[in-house]
Symmetry: C2
Subunit: 401 residues, 2 copies
């Protein structure tokens, strides 16, 4: 790739649900791009594609390295994010703005919808013979991008979920009862599965783990809980917000009160405790002995804290930073387009590489948990835990009598 | 107090809702009691008064110092807890068990209900001329004990709430909207008020803080939110689970689905997302422009993670340990009964002392936030933040563009 790089400006945006480390990727890219010969200025687009449409840019050159380091360790999208999903027409408007500002390098940090945006913008530019280099930088706590072993943001969210289940399992052992915890993850169970990291002993929670990849049947669910509760006198349950029946219908969509969909046509699953409350209510009505006292049943929905908790996994931070830097490096090497992917070389010792893959291989597609990571109807496998451990880092030591 | 100490065994129990540091108090007391001349064995009672009733004891002498250190850093009640609230008859049965096992020293870690249990048992023993030394060790994330500047467990829960609001405020700035976060605290707003620690700049959330100490009026609430949202385009709200109307009725009790009360006659407020969902629903129906798109409105209920998150405040850990040790020390000095209280000597430098106060001054009573800590209808005061900061310790550094 010795061809000449186009001279001009770069733009970077952060899209979709923020994570604890999405700013690491921003800073990784900005650091590598600032001072590169072919690139004059590095713009940050406020609120993703909206900022690109409305020419709402921040000059990232004005920040010191100290500023950047502070942004890097801060959860959530420093530039602001958006749920807008551009179609071809939206993409054409963006490319017009890019031309006006001589933007030749486009970096977009996000999930599968964002890589699709990247693809659309790239195609529009190509069709109008505008030399634009388009790069997608992976990000999603859902860990659901194809071509990736895992994605930046997932390790930190998984750490939160594991720590939450560790503390909550002990709380539930102190005041025994049935505890339902609802975890984010619309289509992929990777984050819900991370709850299993909390186990230390055989009788530790979570005792039941329900993933979107397995069919959820309310009757079987009640039976599963009853079985554990009668054996241990307590039962801690991890439930994905995306659990669905055999036909693929979200359980949460069968309940009332879900009247919101976003612009991607997705039903709103987060930001409400309704699914957990509904499951708790069902358990209470089915497990209360005739004329007797109901078991203690509680539900928590972990909500947005899973993606914004300000204590990220160190490995996740490093990899997110590097994913941003690698996108910049590929651009400066003359590559024209692609998505930076994290691929695992080995687990022991833990080693990854970050090739550039075709946008089309990721764009708009969803990866689900492979069968080898799922154990039966309500658990994850040992191989999933081996896969997950290096991404999360050290968890607190716990002592029990 | 040069009189002879009774020779016999000691028992210690952990009661009520667990905290991140209640095991520190257990270990602090056990360390000080083990090896003390007058005390033969130190029993831990499983599940609080239930273990005392059922003679379900653990000999704490069997654990090494390393074991104790591991218990100490582990959240939740290592011995198990209970919500049982003994009456006089229950207390009489406990004293019978104490006599049978020659238990002469009774230590009970808990909140205001637990100090009342301590008082009842003490009175029963006195009335039957049984020489029992009864000590209450404070614990509650609600921070609602009289005679105390603050209570062990509160600082760690406050740290969780502050970190949660820091991360969540940035998340809400990334994808702007209205965000309701429901915080634990039945009668006292100390924990909800801790959300204010998250603020760094003038426009940082939380923008509105609703405490149980101020009347909650749904119409005014909608107006407050609308005011902030129209100014900033976003609004982050801290709501105590215990918000109540002018007559003192819980807002949550006006909704359906609250059919559980515990043995203390308390309505169940935690372990459900219903209050947050109800407030979000009300905002959505009232703030959606005619024919227009509703603002993005989400609700999270932080739930049990507030009291069991395995990353406690270091100051809180130290003080909880010391509160346990001080109870043991007062017993070994020949004191007969009382509650260890944390009283502040100065804020700068931060300095406390731990006198022994009469059980009757704390038992069954609830402290609420003093007026000087409340600012208007929906905020806490600067003096509250000065009071709170030393209890929480260092919070993460955050950088914003």
């Amino acid at each position: 790739m010795s061809e000449q790089l186009p001279e001009g400006n770069a733009v970077i945006g952060q899209s979709g649900g923020p994570t604890a480390v999405i700013n690491q990727s921003l800073v990784g890219a900005v650091e590598a791009l600032r001072g590169a010969g072919a690139i004059e200025r590095v713009f940050g687009a406020r609120h993703a594609v909206r900022g690109m449409l409305n020419e709402d840019f921040v000059d990232m050159g004005r920040y010191s390295q100290d500023d950047l380091e502070r942004f890097a360790v801060t959860p959530s999208a420093a530039l602001g994010s958006s749920r807008d999903k551009p179609d071809r027409e939206y993409g054409e408007k963006i490319v017009e703005v890019f031309k006006k500002h001589n933007i030749r390098y486009f970096f977009y940090i996000g999930g599968n919808d964002s890589s699709d945006t990247c693809r659309i913008v790239k195609d529009v530019a190509r069709d109008s013979n505008y030399d634009l280099r388009s790069f997608h930088i992976p990000k999603t706590i859902d860990n659901d991008l194809l071509e990736n072993d895992h994605t930046p943001g997932y390790g930190s969210a998984a750490k939160f979920v594991a720590m939450a289940f560790m503390g909550d399992a002990l709380d539930n052992a102190s005041l025994p009862g049935i505890k339902v915890n609802v975890v984010m993850g619309r289509h992929a169970g990777f984050l819900t599965g991370a709850s299993a990291l909390a186990r230390r002993r055989d009788d530790d929670g979570p005792h039941l783990i329900y993933l979107p990849e397995t069919d959820f049947d309310p009757d079987r669910f009640v039976g599963d809980v009853e079985h554990v509760y009668s054996r241990l006198g307590r039962c801690q349950i991890a439930v994905s917000e995306g659990i669905n029946d055999k036909a693929g219908n979200f359980i949460s969509a069968m309940m009332s009160g879900f009247d919101e969909t976003d612009q991607h046509g997705n039903v709103q699953l987060s930001g409400t405790g309704a699914l957990g409350d509904w499951l708790a209510h069902m358990l209470r009505s089915r497990l209360t002995p005739a004329g007797g006292k109901p078991p203690r049943i509680r539900a928590d929905t972990f909500g947005y804290l899973q993606r914004c908790w300000p204590d990220a996994s160190p490995v996740d931070q490093l990899e997110a930073r590097k994913a941003g830097a690698m996108a910049a490096m590929y651009a400066l090497q003359g590559r024209r387009e692609g998505s930076v992917a994290i691929q695992r070389v080995s687990t022991i010792p833990y080693k990854i590489e970050m090739p550039l893959v075709e946008l089309e291989k990721i764009a708009g597609k969803t990866r689900r948990m492979p069968a080898e990571y799922i154990d039966g109807r309500h658990d994850v496998s040992q191989s999933f835990l081996e896969y997950l451990r290096p991404l999360v880092g050290t968890l607190p030591v716990m002592g029990r009598l």
